[in-house]
C-alpha cells in the first residue's frame, strides 16, 4: 500500500508535529549518548535510535487521558506526553528534578498524572499492569484506553502471555505492541521463538493482530489509531507488531558486534526521520528548509535541557529513606 495515499488521512498538523517529536527524540538521545561517552552520565543508556517512529506514532494517536506503559526504547512517548528534555536529562544525571528524583535512572521514569507508567526492567512486567488499568476503565465504564508494549524478547515471558490472555478473556480496552527490533540484547529472534512473526502469538488468545512498518511514523500512527478505536468501542484488545531494527547496541556500552554490518546498512536506508521527510515532501507539507528549521529548534530545546539538568541539585543522601511507603493513595 502506498503510505503517502493512506497518510493523507492524517491531518497535516499531526504529521508535522510527529516530525518534530522524531527530531526531538533523536536530538535528545544523541545528546544523552554524547554525555554518556564523556562520562557525565552514569549507568545504562538504552536508546531508540532508528526506532523513534514507534513511540512517536502511537503516543500521537492516543488521547490525553489514555495510559501508556512504554517499552524501554520509547523516549518519544515521554516527549509527546509532555516530559521536557530538561526533566529527562535530569533523570539521566540522577538529579532531584528528574521524574524519579534520583531514585531510578534513564528510561525508568513515569508519571501517573501524565498517564505514563514507570518502566520496569523485567520486560513484560507492565503488560498485566496495563491490562489492570484497562480493567479499571472497563469496570467504571470509561472510554479510556491503555497502550502497552515490550520487545521481541519480552514476548517470551509468562507475563506477556498472562496479560494477553487476561485482556482477551475480559475484552479489555488495551492495545499491546511488540517492538520487534530483531535482537534482545544479543539474542536474535530466531533463538527467541519458532514462529516467523511475533504477531502469530496473538492468534492463540483470540486476538486480532497486525504487522506494521515500525520505521514509518504514519503507518504506526494509523495502525495504532485503528487498534485504539477498536478498544475504545469495547471490541477488546489488539496486538501490533512493529518491525524495526535496533541500530545501536543493547546499551551504549555494547558495540553489538553480533549484528551483521549489512543488516545495519540495509536498515540505515529506512531511517524513520528520512522516511518521514520523504513523506512530508511527497504530500507537499515540508521541504529541506523546514526540516533544517525543526532540527535547529529541537537542538536549542535540548541544549536548554542540558543546562537545566546540569544546574539542578542532586538529591541529598538521607532522601534514600523517603517514599518506601505511600501516605495517601494518589489515584486517578
Amino acid at each position: 500500500m502506498d503510505v503517502a495515499v493512506t497518510a493523507k488521512e492524517i491531518k497535516r498538523d499531526n504529521l508535522l508535529q510527529m516530525y518534530h517529536y522524531l527530531r526531538l527524540t533523536r536530538a535528545l538521545e544523541d545528546r544523552i549518548t554524547a554525555l554518556y561517552r564523556q562520562g557525565r552520565i552514569v549507568g545504562g543508556v538504552y536508546t531508540s535510535h532508528g526506532m523513534e517512529a514507534i513511540a512517536v506514532g502511537y503516543a500521537s494517536a492516543l488521547e490525553r487521558d489514555d495510559i501508556i506503559a512504554p517499552f524501554h526504547r520509547d523516549m518519544g512517548a515521554f516527549l509527546v506526553r509532555g516530559f521536557t528534555p530538561g526533566e529527562v536529562l535530569a533523570q539521566y544525571l540522577g538529579k532531584r528534578t528528574g521524574p524519579t528524583k534520583g531514585k531510578d535512572g534513564n528510561v525508568h521514569m513515569g508519571d501517573i498524572r501524565r498517564g505514563v507508567f514507570g518502566f520496569v526492567s523485567h520486560l513484560a512486567d507492565n503488560l498485566p499492569v496495563a491490562a489492570g488499568a484497562a480493567l479499571a476503565f472497563k469496570i467504571r465504564g470509561e472510554s479510556r484506553v491503555v497502550f502497552a508494549g515490550t520487545g521481541d524478547g519480552g514476548t517470551s515471558r509468562g507475563d506477556f502471555h498472562e496479560a494477553m490472555n487476561l485482556a482477551a478473556v475480559r475484552k479489555l480496552p488495551v492495545v499491546f505492541f511488540c517492538t520487534n527490533n530483531q535482537y534482545a540484547y544479543s539474542t536474535p529472534v530466531r533463538l527467541q521463538m519458532a514462529i516467523p512473526n511475533v504477531v502469530d502469538r496473538a492468534q492463540a488468545y483470540g486476538m486480532p493482530g497486525d504487522i506494521v512498518d515500525g520505521n514509518d511514523v504514519a503507518a504506526v500512527y494509523l495502525a495504532a489509531q485503528h487498534a485504539i478505536a477498536r478498544a475504545r468501542a469495547g471490541e477488546g484488545p489488539t496486538f501490533l507488531e512493529f518491525k524495526t531494527m535496533r541500530m545501536h547496541g543493547h546499551s551504549e556500552h555494547d558495540p553489538a558486534k553480533y549484528v551483521p554490518r549489512e543488516l545495519l546498512e540495509e536498515w540505515k536506508k529506512k531511517d524513520p526521520i528520512l522516511k518521514a521527510e520523504q513523506l512530508l515532501k511527497q504530500l507537499g507539507y515540508g521541504a529541506e528548509g523546514y526540516f533544517q528549521e525543526v532540527a535547529d529548534r529541537v537542538k536549542k530545546e535540548v541544549e536548554a535541557g542540558v543546562e537545566f539538568a546540569e544546574q539542578s541539585p542532586l538529591p541529598e543522601g538521607p532522601e534514600v529513606l523517603e517514599g518506601v511507603f505511600a501516605t495517601r493513595a494518589d489515584s486517578h
Binding site: 495510559i67 521524574p99 524519579t100 531514585k103 531510578d104 525508568h108 521514569m109 513515569g110 508519571d111 501517573i112 507508567f117 514507570g118 520496569v120 523485567h122 512486567d125 507492565n126 503488560l127 498485566p128 499492569v129 496495563a130 491490562a131 489492570g132 488499568a133 484497562a134 480493567l135 479499571a136 476503565f137 472497563k138 469496570i139 467504571r140 491503555v146 509468562g158 507475563d159 498472562e162 496479560a163 490472555n165 487476561l166 478473556v169 475480559r170 517514599g323 518506601v324 511507603f325 505511600a326 501516605t327 495517601r328 493513595a329 494518589d330 489515584s331 486517578h332
Partner: protein
Amino acid sequence: MATMAQATEEVSYLEAISQALDEEMARDERVFLMGEDIGMYGGAFKITEGFLQKYGEWRVLDTPLAESGFVGAAIGAAMMGLRPVVEMQFADFISCAFDQITEVAAKNHYRWGAAVPMVIRAPFGGGVHGGPFHSECPEGWFFHSPGLKLVAPSTPYDAKGLLKAAIRDPNPVIYFEHKFLYRRIKSVLPKEDFVVPLGKADVKRIGNDISVITYGAMVHLALEAAQTLADEGIDLEVVDLRTLIPFDKEAIYSSVRKTSKAILLHEDNKTGGIGAEIAALLAEDCFDCLDGPIVRIAPPDTPVPFSTPLEEVFLPKTSDIIAAARKLAAY
C-alpha cells in the same frame, strides 16, 4: 454469604474475613475482588460465597489461572483508583506472582511516586494435611522486600479489623490468613464498623516471666502453653505481632524489658525467618535487659511434609514452648 453477626453471636475467623470484605465492598464501590474460583464457586474456602450474586461479575472476577497476571492487573487497577483485593487460592501459589509483588507493587511508589493500594489475601499455614504445596508460610520472602506491608491475624476480631485497615491503606498489603484457624476460632464481634490499625502488636496475655513473641496460629499454641505453665508458676506474656511489616518494635521491646526473657515462635522455617530478625534486634537494642538466651521455636528447614507423623514433628507444638520456657525460667 456469611450472615451479619448479632451482638451475641459468635463469628468464626473465616466469617470475620468474609464480613470485612462484604462491608468494605458495600462501603466503597472502588473495592473489587479478583481470584481463581472466587465467583461462581465462592472461593476454595467459601469466603466469597454469594458475593458474585450480590456485587456482580465486574466486582467479583473469576480470573484465568494466572497469579502473576491477576496480581499485575490488580496493580494497574489500583494505580487507576480502584481498591483491588485479590485472593491467592493458597498462599503457596504466591510464588507465581513473586515478581509482580516485589518488583512492581513494592517499588512503584519509591521509584516514581505511584501508590498501589491493593490487598493480596494469602491463606497460609499448616496443620491441615496440605503437604508441600498447600501449607506454606511464605511471609519470610516478603519480609525482606521494602514497600510491602504484611499482616497475619490470629483472632476473628483482628482478622476483620486488620483486613479493613489493609483495604483502606494506600500501600500493597499481603494479608496472611491462617487456614487452620478458619473454622476453629470464634468470638463475638462488635456490631459497628471497626479497624485494627496496621503496625500495632497486641499483648494477648499479660505475664511477667517470659515474653513469647509470635503471630498467626502460633498465638493459640502460646496461650495453651501459658495455661499449663501458670500452674508451675511460670508466667508467660504472649505478644501477638499482628502486623509483620511494619512491625511493632516498641511493643516487643517493652515486653522483653519487663520479662528479660524472649521466645520467638513462628511457623515459617527457622533460618532467615522473622524470629531471626527480632532476635538480632533484641541483641542490638535490649542486650542489657536479657537474663537468658533468646530462644527461637520454628520448623526445621524442610518443605512442609504431608504425612501426619512428619507434619507433627515439623510444626511447633505446645510441648516445645513448655520445654523451652522451663529451661529459660531457670536462668
